[in-house]
Amino acid sequence: MKKLWKGNEAIAEAAVAAGCRYFFGYPITPQNEIPEYLSWRLPEVGGAFIQAESEVSAINMVYGAAAAGARAMTSSSSPGISLKQEGISYIAGAELPCVIVNMMRSGPGLGGIQPAQGDYFQATKGGGHGDYHPIVYAPSTIQEFVDITYNAFDTADKYRTPVMIIGDGMLGQMMEPAEIPPMKDTTSIFQKYNKDEWAACGHSDGKPRIINSLRIEPDENEEFNIRLFKKYEEITKNETRAEEYQLSDAEYVFVAYGSVARICKAAVVELRAQGIKAGLIRPITLYPYPTEVIASAAKSAHVKKFITVEMSMGQMVEDVRLAVNGLKPVEFYGRCGGNVMMPTDLVKYVKEGK
């Protein structure tokens, strides 16, 4: 049954339904409803919540809980996500599954608390030190946040990798009707993903399980990096997702994700009402990036140009240019600092080129 859910709370309940039983976090706007909700909700389902002393501790608690075989999660917003990067790198290095939510705000530095998308590079290109990528999802509605959160724990367990879900204050704070899927059976998760083979939860079979990212021999570490990237190839093959909207005859193609994609959709509707053939490609996974979808559109004769729209000074646009590979012009329209573009701004941009 659909209920009216606030974005952050819907993510929290979807995580519970997905079998997440441990949450570790630290207060920061605009994501506070996630830890607040889970602080009372998790004990109800036999889980636990710790308000950590810092973001650094929170992500290392996720490391510990995930290493012990549990489904664990943390959430934060941009400055807090920066602090978590150390732990995310260790989680990637130790091949542990977890889910991290970033409700982005504007930066750099303390920035502001209004919606922004300036953490694209940080999220998709690794963020912390070393060669790794988390899987990054960018939902654009509350229902999509629910569905992606619900499945993200399975994806994390399947590949033993950190999964990041990014939104912004607009999506975290708004309310929309959404349906939370049924509660998953948590007792079967441990067996299903063979966690007994590797989880450090106190074994008595004389075969110690070691959770570690230290590989001091160059050959060993190189071999690990190569194996990790083979896994990313597999993830790219299986998990890449994008939505195509009004693309079949589009001459002007917006590329946007998250809340901005909704604004672009409104602009597409208005442009088409005025007789201008606009369309949208909305990456749902930012890593792996839907390069093929964009490359294929670039080869279509009807496409005149791409307009990447972001709440930043232009970050994803680099991946769009790589995908288009010079076949068509790639332009950028951005607002930042917490400002949000209007559909009319985009209509005007397409019609007047500014």
């Binding site: 650094v56 929170a58 290392n60 490391y63 809980a65 450090a200 939860c201 074994h203 399980r209 230290l214």
Partner: protein, 250 residues
Amino acid sequence: MKIVADKPKMLTDVPLHYCPGCTHGIVHRLIAEVLEELGKVDNTIGVVPVGCAVFGYKYFRCDVLEAAHGRAPAVASAIRRVVNPENMIFTYQGDGDLASIGMAETVHACMRGENITIIFINNGIYGMTGGQMAPTTMPGEKATTCIYGRDPKVNGNPVHMCEMLATLTGPAYIERVACCDVPNIRKAKAAIKKAFEVQMAHKGLSFIEVLANCPTNYHMTAVESMQFVKEKGIPFYPLGVYKDITKEEK
């Protein structure tokens, strides 16, 4: 043939990488002996640090996590939520790890009174990185980042962890011991045993600080480094029990 002394089964056969004369090996052995005596080897989870004990996961025959620098108490706190209350959890951390970069994690795990055991190896120097000043380097003691000796006016003051943590409500048991001679090593073993017994009784956090040596970075022989701990270390970091709620309960 009768075996009169044997290596604890909880220690693996991997040769220790520690420098000759270093007391890490002794403390590893004490932990292993104690857990064997308590019958807890099988369900123990260790969390090892960044620093000289970074390879600790090779030496203990139990599930072990390698934590990021200073984060072991946070990692252990989360494991405590997930596993069975009967599982023993310990962290093994040096002074840079526990009292510098991980100070917040240490203090807050103690504030929460987590039912874990923290073994704190204090040798007053960064061993693995080559002898830099630690948060516990004593005034006048030389290190590669205070080559004329630690000057509190320039380098700040060292921290007394047991004394500081004893001011908190959370910890159940806090004791400082030394690893500089046989009588003290025997006392260290008794303290570590007490710490794990406190955890077994679900009394809360137990914290054992072990005054250890670093012959390599003290530029001393093994014997001289032991003497140094005894003559300089113990007077500055007095040994003893700083908190014991089991005593208060009696």
